[in-house]
Point group: C2
Amino acid sequence: MTLEIVSASKCFGGTQYVCAHESAVTRCRMQFSAYVPPQATDRTVPVLTWLSGLTCTEENFTVKAAVQRHAAEHGLLVVAPDTSPRGANVADDEAWDLGAGAGFYVNATQAPWSAHYRMYEYVVDELPVVVSAGLPADMSRSGLFGHSMGGHGTLVIALRNPDRYRSVSVLAPICAPIQTGLGERIFGAYLGADRADWRAYDATELVKDGRNCAPILIDQGDEDEFFKAGAMKIDAFRAACEDAGQAITVRMQQGYDHGYFFVQTFMGDHVDYHAKALNG
Amino acid sequence: MTLEIVSASKCFGGTQYVCAHESAVTRCRMQFSAYVPPQATDRTVPVLTWLSGLTCTEENFTVKAAVQRHAAEHGLLVVAPDTSPRGANVADDEAWDLGAGAGFYVNATQAPWSAHYRMYEYVVDELPVVVSAGLPADMSRSGLFGHSMGGHGTLVIALRNPDRYRSVSVLAPICAPIQTGLGERIFGAYLGADRADWRAYDATELVKDGRNCAPILIDQGDEDEFFKAGAMKIDAFRAACEDAGQAITVRMQQGYDHGYFFVQTFMGDHVDYHAKALNG
């Protein structure tokens, strides 16, 4: 496996990379960003992986979230994959929330999506191998965080792989997609009509089924248009966690919307939260 | 004069705005961003204006520089205008460094540019009026900073209007455009063939002519491709400043390139530098 360095820029004493590789899972070229902190010059460091929201590539988080200062402070390697397979031979759709930029971190089973849309397997199995082979990463100390659709991916992946991630946090996460029209439409396309197949990709259902993970930190802005429209279902997820004994902290943030100015504001808190678990 | 709010997002307790207005100077609709810090809820606050580099709109700095955290900490209102007039009736060129996104902060005298390209007058005279009319700005406490082409604009505007700006800093600035091929080509287009007319827009010539301003802080990465190609002329500017008694600090930053990962890294230092002068 060859890791291609697309770009490299010094930032806060470390290096912000954009990397590319041929994925055996999504069967296309995939890009991800990786911030390697200054502490990694003479040792491996913990890895904090970020899952982005709808319409994003690896770039949005990398240029807008101001994570690098915090990662440099705590000595964390921060990885941010793309949100879907892409390319001339990869299926797409005119909708903004299906196809390119909208992989929803599932392994699609339905044509035409099943040929490439395997973002669950990509994030869980392939990306860690690619990262640890090419970068100074200590994968035994891994955390996972994400935003919106990437919050959904974070919760699902952490709950299904609790031994992989010592720390979990999300901002404005989609917590119960099968309870919403968005989730029903997308999961129907990717996973087929049998709703039983959707439960493996719904954080609230996973908690109800007895899955658990590291304590979860959630930040949610109360002026988030998607939150106000009922797309997040944070209350349903919190109730399921409390019933099941899953540790969860939900912080409602007054006046904040859904975008990266919100994410940037609380990025320091989230990196601190992960650093306590990963550097402890 | 009506200030249109294009967008508003809470960020670090303040608000990140994008604003628009009809400009009497550039004779087109202009956008600028303005971060209003939390301290401005009950008083006016100092204003720090950022001038961006080639190809930028007001957006690049706003989403990539991570200035908001520092502005909130120090209680500064940070304004970032676009870098040129734009629109269907505004002249443009296929070159990336002439026309849209490349106003060079001059008042063009040559057709077709002279009809709209008056970014010097826009930044010096119109923008402060628009900002103070619509936002909680104390224009008596103003600082100016910028990057690359915007570093050139910062130095020229500060040196020609020393009473306006209490603090001045630049990152990777173009310091002597008339000594470089880029400057010669662009100034020829905007200002005509008479090189005597170019001196008013060349920071090094202005210092040689006896102009001065607040102490200048410069950060420059030594892996900046434009710097390595000789486009910045920082040594010529520093020599002119030292000959003239203009206070200047040049910090060479090892390994940094020209982009916003470099800008983001040193943004905190620059805002601190301005805050000392503006809040003192």
